[in-house]
Amino acid sequence: MTETARVSILVACFLVLAISFLIGWWARKKVTSPEAFFGGAKIFGPITIGLATMAAVGSAFAVVGVPGLIYSTGNTILLFMFAAPAFVFGYLVIGKKVRAMAEIGTVASLGDLSDLRFNRHRGIKLMLSLMLFLGCAMYLAAQVEACAVLFQNLFDWNRLLISTIIFAILIGYTVLSGEIGGILTQAFQGMVMVIAGLIVIVAFFAVTGGFGPVLDAISGSRGAAAHLNPNAMTAWGVLPGAYSLAWVLLPTLGLMCQPQVLTRMFALRTPRDMPKLSIYAALSNVIAGMMVLAIGYCAVYLVARGTLAPLAAPDKAVFKVADYLGVFTQVFIYPAVLAAALSTSSLFLSLAGNIMSRDLPSALGFEIAPAKQMRTSQIAMVALGVLAIAFASVSGKMVAILGTYGFGTLTAATFPIFIVGLLWKRATSRGVMLGMVTALVGTIGCVTLELMNKLGATRFSWPGGIPWYINVLAVSVIVSVIASLVTRRATDEPMDPHVEMAMEL
């Protein structure tokens, strides 16, 4: 790569960072109350929320990990990336209920939502806080690691230094403007990803001539010599079928209860905007999906034609393709990777701040005065950011593994409360609490087991190769339903009539 290209990419990346910071700085004026800081401002329109949601859902894993998986294992992972209808499904099924809750009381966090539905049940809130915090930590550290890898690919810089600079800026604007700045910066970062996506798609066609030549190339002799498998081009790729099942299930049922989606539902000005939000979220997700498809296929094409050497590290596919496509594409792809990491990080940073200053204390039985909540949250964000940087710099490999578990962990954390709870009036506090305990214990146990497997200490495999988070999610939902049925008569839980109305909308 030429020095001019390196400098151009660096300038483009820091432009994304600088604009994000300026948006955050400007947005601090809109923080007129602690509720607004934490996410309770119902002021945003569907375009902003649609782009912000797509950007926060599309983490660095989507832009870096997915093309790598397409290159190494074929189309399987695209079942996950192509589940755009799941956005609409979520809004259609629970969107108006979640947004209506925000009219009944102050809803600035998922804990507030849980309080309304389950009569301030502290156990559920505690389990939710712990699970969300676990998911936040996994996601955050993985984004730090992704940024370090991004810049390490360009310059031989110190990982700790890179992470510190980027995350100092990120923490700065998130601390200044909370969720208001978070949503606006995420919308901007989503726009960066969409523009990069469109440019990559055009570049893909210019280089390959279409999808047919990719299929021809991988089926040819050079493809075989590069150890590329033509079966990768089928719908199920070359991974065991269990992955196809997991990667259809996880977004279809998991997207609607991701914090990136749920918290944006109650930030919307009116629920009547939700269908428009669906269009913007789904279409921007389609462009992101096309972008990673184009990058992954381009990597396959270039290697199968012998233009690039076989990739020793598939995660580098996005950078290898960008470098091949030239400086014009590079100045969009690299910032898009950064934008994906930043948007997800800022969301999980504010979520963690929210948990530490509001949800966790209240679940433990003490309240921090509203005036002090913002300060506590800001301190928590800085502390967690520093911890994430330290963790990623000490154990990047482990962080990358944990990062892939974030989505499943967060789904298990929220599904019993917000899907079972909002769709079923007879879901009891005790039932959901038991489901949450199952999810927490299952997640901690399975993550430990997985890490031991990776380190070679154990050789455990799940029946049929189904990923652990699917099993944990299924068991926690089943336990929530059965326990609710069993405890229905034992518990007398009068529901707020307006909560009942919200669930009936």
């Binding site: 079942l79 192509f82 755009a84 209808p85 609409v88 499904f89 809004y91 259609l92 108006k96 209506a100 009219e103 279409g210 999808f211 047919g212 030549p213 299929l215 089926s219 033509p230 079966n231 089928t234 719908a235 199920w236 079928g241 269990a242 196809s244 099942l245 259809v248 299930l249 279809t252 049922l253 009116t270 629920p271 009547r272 939700m274 269908p275 428009k276 669906s278 269009i279 789904a282 279409l283 389609v286 079972v420 769709l423 079923w424 009036k425 007879r426 029946p463 049929g464 190769g465 699917i470 299924a474 939902v477 089943i478 339903v481 059965i482 609710s484 049925l485 307006h498 109305m501 909308l505």
Partner: protein, 153 residues
Amino acid sequence: MNRGGNETLLMIASALLWLAIVVLGGMSHWLAALYALLTLVGVYTVLGAVRGGRVDVGLVVFPGLLWLGMWAIAFVVADLYAVLYQGRSPDHTFFGFHPSFAAIIVLYWLAPTAVMAFGFEAIKDRWLPEERWAAFVRSVSERGAGEKEQARD
């Protein structure tokens, strides 16, 4: 229809479907598990369309069931061609894609996304009529005003 009773039955059905998914998946019948998943999504779609104990069938059918129907066909076609061309190049392609993956592109991704996103916009007045939302907001604010009055007294 008894209020809440059918929702409970649907929720029990959902728990059984979750069980079916992990059992079928665990026995390596992952394709069957995928169809169980589609049924489960259908159950949640019905639950999301319940109002006053009654299911709004129109809301379930369009766009929800249309979407799930497309996904079901996508899985059948995708698997058919994946098996047919296992270990060799396909005789024909669609838009340059392997026919197995073309089914996913069209029937799993692009067409269902368009149907769901634009279909939702088309049914938005049925999903949440303006007057129903206004009545809800009015009811909440009246209670708020009442509570403030009580606090003053």
